[in-house]
Amino acid sequence: MSLFIPEAFIGSIKGTIAISASWLVINSYLSSKNKETGPVHLFILILWFMLLFIAGTFIEFDAFYKDQIRRVSAYMFGLLLITAIFSSGWSLKREFRLFYIFLIMLLYGPDVMSLSFFLKDLSAMRQNFTGAYIAGITGFLSGLSLLFFEKKIRSGLSPYLSLTGLFFSLSAIKLLLGGTGGYAELSLIPAVQRGLMKFFHDLVHQLFVFFMVPDHPLLKTTVWNFIGLIFGEAFTMIATLCILVIPPLVIVLRLLKRPEEVPEGLKGAERRKYIHEFMLLNRKRAFPIFLFALMVSFFWFFKAESGPGLYIPQPVPVVEEEGFVIIKLKEPGRELGDGNIHKFILRKDEKTYRFFIFKRPDGKFSVCLDACEICPPEGYGQARQHLICIYCNTPIPFNTVGEPGGCNPIPVGYIMTEKEIKIEVEEILKKWRLVHSGVSRE
C-alpha cells in the first residue's frame, strides 16, 4: 500500500489534535475561573478553520506566499512563548473571553492552511485527490474526538493552570503537534539558534565598525576565527538552551516560594493552612511550566546529539568548454531551480575550485564560490531558512545569497539562457583569489 494515505491521515490528525488539545486546555483554564465557553465558540472556531482549509485547497498560492504563511505560524509561536514568559502574575478578566478564541484562531490558522497545501501537494503528487482528502478528513474527525473527553479533562486540568501555565501548555502542544513538518515540530530550537548566531555575528560586526577595527588580513582571519566561536554551533546551542529554559525555570522557582504576606488575623494552624494551600496551588501551577522546560531540554538534547543537520551535497565535477563552464538547468536527477544548493567542482592546473548554484525563494538564480573572503574555504551547507558557513556557522539568509561582501559566499557572474547557465572560467579563477584573503574587493 502506498504510504500517502497514512501520511495524509497522520498529518490531519496531528493538526486537529493540537487544536482540540489547545481548546481543552483553554477551557480548563476558563472553568477554574468560572468562565464557561459554550458550544457557540467551538462552532466559530471550527467554521474558521474550515474556511481557511477550503481557501488553502481551492485558491492557488504562489510558493512565496506559502512560505510566508508557514512563517506566520512560527512567528505566532514565538509571540506566544514570549507572552508566556512575561505573563507571570497576569490574570485576564471575563471580558477577555473572546481573546482565547482569537488566540487559537491565530495560533493554528497558518497550520490549517499549511495542512491544506500539504494535502493538495500530496494528492497532486500521487494523482489521487479523493484518497488524500478522505484520509485527511478522517484524520480531522478523529482529532476532534478528543473533545468528547472535555468534561473529564477540564476538571482534572483546571487546578494546574495559571495564565502563564496556560500559555506554556499551549506552547508545549504547539511544539509537540503543531505544523506539518513532522511528528514533532522541533524547528523551535534551530530557529532560536540561527537567530542567536545572526545576532552575535551582527553584534561583533557592528562593534568592529564602532571601534574602527582596521581592515587588516590578520584581524579579518585569525582574530575573526577566535571571535567566531561565540556564534559557533556549540556556544549558540548552549545560549539557546538558556534562553528557552531559564525563563520558565525562574517562573517555577518564583511559584515555589512561600507567600510574602499572610492575611492579618490568621494565626497558628490557620496561618499554616493558608500558607500550605497557597504553596500547593502554586506547585500545581508550576507543574505545566516545569514540564515545558523539561520538554524543551529533552528536544534540545535530541537536537544537540543529532548535530547541525545541514544539507551538504557532494560537488559535481565540471569541465571547461571554450573558456566557460556550462551547466544545464535540468538534467535527469537534477534540477537547478528546486531551491536546493547545487555544488560543482572545477579542476584546472592541478588546483580545484568549488562553486554552487542556488535558486533563491524570490526566484533569482545565484552563482557563488563555495567560500567567502574571511574563512578558510570549508564551504556552505543548507538549513531551512539559511545557508550556513561550515567553518564559522554564520547563517546567510537565502535572499541575500549572491550579495557580495563579508561572510556571504563570493558571487560569480553568469550568463543564463532558457536551458543552461554559462560561467566564465577566468571569472571563477579571479574570484577564487579573494578566498580567505581578508580583503574585500567588492
Partner: protein, 220 residues
Amino acid sequence: MIKVRGLKKVYPSAVALRGVDMDIQDNEWLSIMGPSGSGKSTLLNILGGLDYPTEGSVSYDGKEITTMKEDELAVFRRENIGFIFQQSYLIPYLTALENVMLAQYFHSIVDEKEAAEALKRVGLSHRLHHRPSELSGGEQQRVCIARALINSPKVLLADEPTGNLDRENTRVILELLGELHSNEGFTIVLVTHDPYVAGWGKRLLTMEDGRIIKDESFHS
C-alpha cells in the same frame, strides 16, 4: 455542636453500641464512664471518625461524618479533631519537638517556633530536644497534649489519658487540660474508668452494655 442519633455498632462476635443518642455542646467538657466492654471507646472512635457505625449518624455542626469516604474523613479528622490515648504513641526516634512538628506536617506545613511554643505551654520548654524514652510518663502525655492541640482542633477526644499515670501526674495533666480548655475553648470528650478524672468534666455520661444509662450535669 455534635449530634449523635441512633448509633449502633455490631461486631461479628459482640454488640458494642445498641442505640446511642446524645448532643454535645461547643466548649463542653464531657466525661464518659462505664465498666469495660460498655462501649465507651467504640463510641469515642466513631465520634472521632476512626470507625464507622453499623447504624445511626454523627454530625458536627450539621456535617454528617458517617457517610464520608476514608479520604474525606482523614481531612475532617486532621482539621477538626485532636486525639489523646492512654499510650502516648510518640515516635521513639524523634524528639518531643519533632513529634509535635510531625502533626503540623500532616496538617499543613511545619513551624518550629510554634511547636516549641506549644511545648512551652504544657511546661516542657526544657525538654524540647529529648526523645520519648528520656521523658517521664507524665511528660510524654504532656507532649501528646501539645501534639493533639497544635492544629487547633475544635474537639479533643481523650481515651483514658491518665490511665498510666500516678495521682500526682494525673492531677497535673487534668489541670493542664482544664487551663487549655478555658483559654482555647475547645470541646473535650474524655473516656475514663476513674471517677476522680471524670469529676473534672462539667457533664458525665455513664454507659453500660452499649447504652447511656445516666446523663448528669455538674455546675461549679
